[in-house]
């Protein structure tokens, strides 16, 4: 009797492929395409309820007559945020992920052909989540993380990646400070420990505190890359 022993061979293959490589490549193309149009893209990340949409509503009011903006809204379900932005007279597109906890560059890429090429700012409101969105480049030029005072002053070190990868930190709802045990200096110093280059804005969408500083920062950031300034 003859045994058929199959002579399998094994081959090792060095791949060295970035698992987010496809997303990064699409993001780089988006960043370049928007820059070519002099459009500054801003990725807003935070936990749900930190005030991303409220901040955008205030920016819509205060940027009126100074700069043109559009908004891409990311949520798991509903058009609610896009409707709030449209009510301000601002073009807005809602991406509903149907369960996914973050936006990816390819989702932004699908919206781009609809954009008015004459806008100055594209704000992308990420899905409310302080963890997963931090891993996905959306082709933004500025990444802003929001932290609201009711969430607590211990968050930067608990969710480091959102803070280490951001350009600016917008502390929101500071009108509530009188009612909360929130140590503003602790948050600032812990966030700066993680990311010494982080710009920090202390804001309230209700009183308008700090919004002008944030707007000045956004306008400066855009000015720094405009080709025909």
């Amino acid at each position: 009797m003859r045994l058929d022993i199959k002579n399998m061979s094994r081959k090792e293959l060095i791949v060295l492929e970035d698992l987010l490589g496809t997303n990064k490549k699409i993001a780089a193309d988006i960043r370049e395409a928007l820059k070519f149009r002099n459009i500054l893209a801003v990725n807003l990340m935070s936990s749900p309820g930190a005030g991303k949409t409220s901040l955008l509503e205030v920016l819509a009011d205060r940027l009126k007559g100074r700069a043109r903006m559009s908004v891409i809204e990311g949520d798991i379900e509903t058009e609610r945020d896009a409707e709030r932005i449209r009510a301000k007279g601002i073009p807005a597109w809602q991406i509903t992920t149907g369960g996914a906890c973050h936006l990816e560059a390819k989702m932004i890429g699908k919206v781009l052909p609809n954009l008015d090429p004459a806008i100055d700012f594209l704000f992308i409101e990420n899905v409310g989540n302080l963890v997963c969105p931090a891993s996905y480049d959306l082709g933004e030029h500025l990444r802003c993380v929001l932290l609201s005072t009711p969430e607590g002053d211990d968050k930067p070190k608990k969710y480091p990646k959102a803070f280490t990868t951001s350009d600016c930190l917008v502390l929101t709802k500071v009108d509530l400070l009188a009612h909360l045990p929130f140590d503003m200096e602790k948050v600032k110093s812990e966030a700066l420990d993680l990311n010494p280059k982080l710009k920090i804005f202390v804001t309230s969408a209700v009183t308008g505190e700090g919004i002008d500083d944030l707007i000045a920062y956004l306008l400066d950031s855009r000015q720094s890359f405009v080709r025909y300034a």
Binding site: L13, I14, V15, E17, L19, T164, D193, N195
Partner: protein, 115 residues
């Protein structure tokens, strides 16, 4: 929980490589995952086990090497690990640093079975 979307990208690559090399099966998969990559190795493992069923990688062994967050100081030249992710040199407190490891999230190598 975005690990499933990472695993889905991993399988796109695995199956493409397997086809390219006319492999019968993928037998080993080695990933490098930094502490600041934003993914949890255990969740990658569960996602891998879920995804591999019925594919060429059904019997594949997944290895994940976790890399600590480490920085090199441009001021004093010292390389150090920072478990707390604080972006400052533990020797001289300079914040002029380059990240050496910790942000990795890549497929290093695979082993294929051919005949």
């Amino acid at each position: 929980m975005h690990e499933l979307s990472i695993i889905s990208a991993l399988f796109d690559t695995l199956l493409e490589k397997a086809r390219e090399h006319e492999a019968k099966a993928v037998t080993r998969v080695k990933l490098k995952v930094g502490k600041l990559s934003g993914v949890v190795p255990e969740l990658l493992e569960s996602g891998f086990d879920m995804y591999k069923k019925g594919t060429l990688a059904e019997k594949a062994l997944l290895e994940i090497e976790v890399l600590p967050f480490s920085v090199r100081c441009r001021a004093c030249g010292i390389e150090s690990e920072r478990e707390d992710f604080v972006f400052a040199c533990p020797q001289c407190a300079s914040t002029e640093l380059e990240i050496v490891h910790g942000t990795e999230l890549f497929l290093e190598k695979i082993e294929l079975e051919t005949d």
